[in-house]
Amino acid sequence: MSSMDKEPLFSAKNVKLLTTPLNDENPITVQVLGICSALAVTVKLEPAVVLAVAVVAVMGAANVIISVLRRTIPQRIRIIVQLVVIASLVILVDQVLKAFLYDVSRQLSVFVGLIITNCIIMGRLEAFALGNRVWPSFLDGVGNAAGYGWILIVVAFFRELLGSGTVWDYPVMEKLGLYTIGYENNGFMILPPMALITVGIIIWVQRSRNRKLIESK
């Protein structure tokens, strides 16, 4: 144990906790978790970024709390304890959003509440925070939330660019002068099914670059 205590904060093992969820063990494209809330908020970039930040905050904090309490939580009621911790943190985030970013919180509608049932958070608490020390748990939480966040932001970027011709409400396509030469916004990108197809394409690109992720039949 004493050697563990002297481990530097960003040792190779800890950095790995932070980076593998970004690619090799990405929560969305590889572990298939947390897709529910991931897709509906990706019509525009701003709510997607806000949701990603909210998930990073909730997940980092939830992992720390569960990791601190891990020796005192009885095995039988751990799911309810986890849900209560997550739900309380989400209430905090929800109230903060309503106070400072009211418009975005309207756009996110029920999806802030749905962070509670985001299976990534539950999954990481079960799989990691219950058995690990506080600092690695924090890194693991933040890493997984970031892996979730970047997919969200990439999907939102393409949907907003192709669907509304803007990026963060800045009219890119108009400034490039594409409308004058006959370009039109693809309204289809705003509709729900295109989020699924965009994620499908991200998975396709990611797996052809990282062939060890390819599934056997």
């Binding site: 749905l114 509670i116 985001n118 729900p192 099914p193 499908g200 992720l213 599934e215």
Partner: protein
């Protein structure tokens, strides 16, 4: 009565949980490898949604929303507990799922063993919590409307998961490009099914 049918049909086809809101995607993707397990999970979801949405409706309207505690006496008329709704909803859902699990174990042991871990996971299925949150957001007028919405959403989820399971059983014999195999093609097929379901949007009820 007409209004109830309207809400039911809307929530099955037009506001379908999976295709219009992407709720319940995790279990939708994880349990849709074969039709038989998808069938079992779909029925369990119909059941849980059909119970929790009306129960949460009662809790919302008689305990949590602003002024809902007026029945306790004049002193409680200004109490607003709506910030507690997330935690109450999830508590109701968790206990209902526990109840369903015990009932399935008692009356349908075969289904119980085939569903395994996925039965308790219904508690963290976003379609279930989403049902209650949409019920709250849309402010249904009475408990009958809330029940129609809950049941309809469950049936919508059932249709979606059984449909994709049937397609995935067949797609196993197709020659899908390597990187797209499994998850990727499932996403794209779901997207295409979503486009098909969008054709219901034009229906005016």
């Amino acid at each position: 009565m007409e209004g109830l049918v309207n809400i039911f049909v809307r929530s099955v086809f037009i506001d379908n949980m999976v295709f219009a809101y992407f709720l319940g995607m995790c279990s939708y993707l994880a349990v849709s490898r074969t039709v038989s397990t998808a069938n079992g999970l779909g029925i369990a979801v119909i059941f849980v949604l059909g119970i929790t949405v009306p129960v949460n409706y009662l809790i919302e309207n008689y305990f949590l929303s602003s002024g809902a505690l007026a029945w306790l006496g004049a002193g409680f008329a200004n109490v607003d507990l709506s910030f507690l709704s997330f935690i109450m909803f999830i508590a109701v859902i968790a206990s209902m799922v526990q109840l369903v699990e015990m009932m399935v174990e008692k009356f349908a042991p075969a289904l119980y063993s085939s569903l395994g871990i996925f039965l308790p996971l219904i508690a963290v299925n976003c379609a279930i919590l989403g049902g209650s949150l949409f019920m709250q957001e849309r402010e249904y007028a009475n408990i009958a409307e809330a029940s129609a919405f809950g049941l309809g959403s469950g049936v919508g989820f059932y249709l979606a998961i059984v449909g994709i399971a049937a397609i995935r059983e067949k797609i196993r014999y197709s020659n899908v490009p390597g990187p797209l195999r499994g998850l990727g093609i499932t996403f794209i097929v779901t997207g295409l099914m979503g486009i098909a379901f969008m054709s219901f949007m034009g229906i005016k009820l």
